[in-house]
Amino acid sequence: MLQLAVDGQTWLDSAATAQKPRAMLEALQQWYASGVANVHRAQHRPGERATSAFEQARGTIARWLNAASASHIVLTKGTTESINLLAHALAGQFQPGDEILVGAHEHHANLLPWQQLARRQNLALRILPLDTTGALDLEKGLDMLGPRSRLLAVSPLSNVLGRRHDLAPLLQRARELDVLSVVDGAQYAVHQRPDLQQLDADFFACSAHKLYGPDGIGLLYAHPRRHALLQPWQWGGEMIEHCDYHSASARPLPLGLEAGTPNIAGTIAFAATLDWLDKLDSNAIRQHEAALHRLLIDGLHARDMQLVGQPDTALACFNAPGVHSADLAMLLGEQGVAVRAGQHCAMPLLHSLRLGGAVRVSLGLYNDAEDLQRFFEALDAALEILA
């Protein structure tokens, strides 16, 4: 963060990835510096120490999410891998003609694994529509859940629309109809600490790197009522219970879905990040982020920018009338303001809104009013040139 300031850069792209706290860096450094070993394998002391640190970290992650047990947390590379894992591990649960329902606002990570599964197995992919504010249209969504529905995959906070969706009614209906439910929490977990027991979805995925943690680590939460449905998707390493040349069986969750050497350092550093977050005043952070978000929206309105939907959390996508989003983003970049332009890994959504692209400003807990002031100054300067 400091180095970015030294380089004259203002980071307003936290929805893509977040800057890191010292606690995370120190955990990484300490893990590698104090002598490494693999987990769940050796009988030597470094191996025991590694296994214990790794499993403690899994416990910390489970507690942070208020999961009932650490054994419900499968460690993955990130949200994208978690959802791809699910789309393979659950493949045996579908009959041709079964329906998969996904939100119109989903990131490609929560669309494409289901789209491809539907194509492979001749399933119907149905898209839950949004209302004019950019929120899921609950009434229509509830109507679409029916006897052929087998899986519902939705995100409570879109990386484009920045609007929170109340998933509770949909998840409840899914439980009543025994429809599998998958919640993509990649954006949501950053701005609202998840309570997985309260949410009561079958599956939940998020990534560490957006949550101020390291790259290449994330998780899939699986409710125990669904553990028996999950078939291993990758084989090898310590996920094996029994194996001969012609057959093998996998261990129970979570290890049975974690083939190969896991990202031990990432897991430990992720847990350290969550411990750090846990010590911060979450109410104060929420208020701080909400106040910044209001500043952002007010400033964009004051300049007659065209907002995409009606964002209420963490980010805003917008266009300047008559200005190409790529041009605007380039000139903001020239001025050291790091925002993102383009389709934000949600091409079908942008297409349905008839937008070729949009500029996205996204906030993290470390941003302040000065960052937004620099952004607006840069925006004014850019618009003067492009007008």
Binding site: H324, S325, A326, D327, M330, L331, G333, E334, Q335, A341, G342, Q343, G356, G357, A381, I385, L386
Partner: protein, 136 residues
């Protein structure tokens, strides 16, 4: 290393005289306006270069063994970046084209950042497309 054409030399001098990003941006916009637009009919999928955040259309021909290039896109600054590319590459022989150091060219113009890997404006993809259009 091929020597830039007189048109490219002139362009280089104009960019070298720029002080700061604002002047460079205005100059890019000016060059972008010079880039002839393709008609809607000419914007075919075959000519569309994939992998760019903004779609870029490219038509490369080799009359008399020298490159003739038409490029088009909607974003105005990207049009400027494309015109700058067109001026540098137009009239080159296939051999000369292979010798162009694109990174060095944009760097001399003070536009090196626009070519870096993290930017998906497709300038590299355009160059690759043109390279593949070389007559056998």
């Amino acid at each position: 290393m091929t020597t830039p054409s007189p048109a490219a030399q002139a362009l280089l001098e104009r960019f070298a005289a720029c002080r700061g990003w604002e002047q460079r941006a205005r100059l890019l916009l000016e060059y972008g306006q010079q880039l002839p637009a393709l008609s809607p009919d000419e914007r075919t999928d075959q000519r569309l270069i994939r992998g760019c955040e903004s779609p870029v259309w490219c038509l490369a021909g080799w009359p008399a063994g020298r490159l003739q290039l038409q490029l088009d896109t909607d974003a105005r600054l990207l049009r400027g970046l494309l015109e700058v590319l067109r001026i540098r590459l137009s009239g080159l022989t296939p051999e000369q084209l292979g010798e162009v150091d694109l990174a060095d060219w944009y760097s001399q113009l003070g536009l090196a950042r626009q070519l870096s890997g993290s930017r998906s404006n497709g300038l590299n993809a355009v160059y690759q497309y043109v390279m593949q259009s070389r007559p056998a």
